[in-house]
Symmetry: C2
Subunit: 135 residues, 2 copies
Amino acid sequence: MNLELIERLKEAGVQPSAQRLAVAEFVLETEQHPSADQVLEQVQNALPMLSRATVYNTLHLFVEKGLLRQLVISEGRVVFDPRLEPHHHFIDDETGDIEDVPWSAVKVGDVTGLKGYEVREYMVVMRGTKVKKRR
Amino acid sequence: MNLELIERLKEAGVQPSAQRLAVAEFVLETEQHPSADQVLEQVQNALPMLSRATVYNTLHLFVEKGLLRQLVISEGRVVFDPRLEPHHHFIDDETGDIEDVPWSAVKVGDVTGLKGYEVREYMVVMRGTKVKKRR
DNA sequence: TTCTGGGTTTAGACTTAATCCAGACTTTGT
DNA sequence: ACAAAGTCTGGATTAAGTCTAAACCCAGAA
């Protein structure tokens, strides 16, 4: 099962294993921005013997191999994002939820030309509240 | 001594005290982006009996009263920034140092008009390396 | 001056996220 | 089947941050 995922791990240079597959299945597929502990909790449903250390190891491995991005923008927590293409982030003041904002939604002027800095990546971080749909 | 600072605290609605003054003296003046523990360490030079809890209380009070901003963008740490006017941030990949980038250095297109979001504040977070001065 | 009460500070216990480690287990190649 | 390399585990450890109860300080009232 899940041959595609196995292929994807191999391509990234990650040797597949039951644990890694289970973690990948959740974290590479989710729409959320889970923290390590949230990943642990979720994946333990499928694989109860999974240890915390393995989750941390696996997530860091995935980040290293470019399958995940690590975000450090939310309230005191490190969080993982499976969307690799550049995008911005909106953080809800009330709930702390992080949402992706498409790259095209915000235009940012030339950043690579900043004197003194070699910018590898950048994003706009917005904070505020979500507007209820008006009828 | 330091009448100005005392005035500033009072204006912000903070009742001055020896500890709060000492913390203010460091954290409102620094060019860095210190973490709570760095503040503790520094201010203990001037006030050795200062307790960790007081530093946390004071920093949070300052944030609440608008004397400081809390940043959550660096490697797993909450960090405080005494510059209240809007600006962007550059984070050095190697050292983790955070530097301020003037608001005018990067132009960002209209963000307030994003459908579905009420944006209270935003900033561009850049990551990369500092360029050595070329001769 | 002494008393009193509110706000402030303290040390230490506690919580939670994250890391480390040594041994056990699995997989791979021969 | 075996050895070596790689992976996983539970538990101990570290570190950031929070909480709490008792002590402290000081301004105003008596």
